[in-house]
Amino acid sequence: MTTMGSTTIEIAINLVKTILVFLMMVQAVPILVWLERRGSAFIQNRFGPNRVGPLGLVQLLADAVKFLKKEDFVPEKGNRFLFYCAPVFAMIPGAIAYMAIPMSVPLVTESYTFLIQGYEINVGIVFILGISSLAAYTILMAGWGSGSKFSLMGALRASAQIISYELALGLAIVGVILLYGTFNLAEMIQSQSGSLNFQGFGYTVAANWLPNWGIFYQPIGALLFFAATFAESNRLPFDLAEGEAELVAGFHTEYGGFKMLMFFIGEYAHMMVASGLMVTFFFGGYSIWNFSPEEVHSWIMNTFSVAPFTANVLNSIIHFLSYTIKFALFLWIFIHVRWTLPRFRYDQLMDLGWKTMLPWALANSILTAAIIFIGSHFTL
């Protein structure tokens, strides 16, 4: 297990790095909100925010000023403490889960390996699953603290939905763990580098032009996992927690101003965790198509004739860009789906989770185990 560092300077660097990752996530939220508003307008044939600044980009600044000028409001019947705690805690699970996801090749110097992620955890998957399900508590706190029955109903629905899809989410990952045989996200990405190379039943199926990504081994698992993350982050088509038509705004009915913004940060942080995990499990993490980090490194050194250390830095930057492109693609899919699909009815939602996705995920993990088992014992 990698520690936070042995000397004071290393510990300080690592702690500052976690803050930087968190601030990056907070910074990404306004951009995503803008993308979401513009994207929804584009999909629904409207204009969206286009008045304030070029393409409406400064709209976010105007929104922030408006948030700041909002009166600080607590409903009289609510519980003040829970009402204030809920938005603060809403930011925590998504943020600390995201930091365990590796975003680029570690930057190796002579004395120290600098990881491009908040911190490395050797049981990364279990940690992320455990932490991100804590979001149910913040939603319940908000629903109970508001003292409104719409909030409470929204919170109950949301927590029931989150725990129901957690099962499908966990079981969809079992196939991935079977495939890589590890909980460590960095090791998973390493075993996905290179070209597609399937071994089993005494055969080797190799394709030089395809990457060795998890999606080719676990297509059903990927689909189930992605669908379940929509439910986990309370996004359409699973946003029953705030179904406007029936519950006003669900658990954040009574919230406004900066407290509302913090719930937004929490929601987008969960989207980022989901996208990051999708990329890590099924799309090779930071790897660039089927080139391994070492190949890219030697290519940089030969092409630009730079020192090994400069090549290391460039290597990390290029892989970070690769990760970001994949990551942004999944965030865009989240936004696209939200404005394309209608909302489920509540019983349909629960049926889908328990009666469709859970059995499919179960079948997927049994199938994966059986193929690995039979493929290594028998030949065709």
Partner: protein, 123 residues
């Protein structure tokens, strides 16, 4: 330890969020009570009729109980899955595969029973 990092970030975000709330309260000011209606909980504009301890469907509790049962069973699969390939490599493949299949048989029976007894019907 990474745990130190986790705790550090948790505390940092908690302080960050608290400061944001205080900042917003400082710039926006506390809500002035111009009328009682402003401080009532939101109920589509009508007079507040019910208190918050409104009736909650028992299905939510049932879902929570079933979740705990099934989630524990899913968690058992995690260490099994991470050791599956190394067990096969060391020649104990039949043992690890068949033992989990027996466990999953019970799991699937439980799921089938749960669906059959209509524990998951929302009406």
């Amino acid at each position: 330890m990474p745990l130190g990092g986790v705790i550090f970030v948790t505390i940092f975000i908690a302080i960050f969020g608290t400061l944001l709330i205080y900042l917003a309260r400082w710039t926006g000011g506390k809500a002035k009570k111009t009328s009682q209606a402003k401080f009532d909980i939101y109920e589509c504009g009508i007079e507040v009729q019910e208190k918050k301890d409104t009736k909650v469907s028992v299905k939510f509790y049932l879902t929570a109980i079933l979740f705990i049962l099934f989630d524990i069973e899913v968690i058992f699969m995690f260490p099994w899955a991470s050791n599956f390939k190394s067990f096969i490599a060391s020649g104990a493949g039949v043992y690890i595969f068949s033992s989990m299949m027996i466990f999953l048989g019970i799991f699937i029976f439980g799921l089938w029973w749960e669906i059959k007894s209509k524990a998951l019907e929302w009406d």
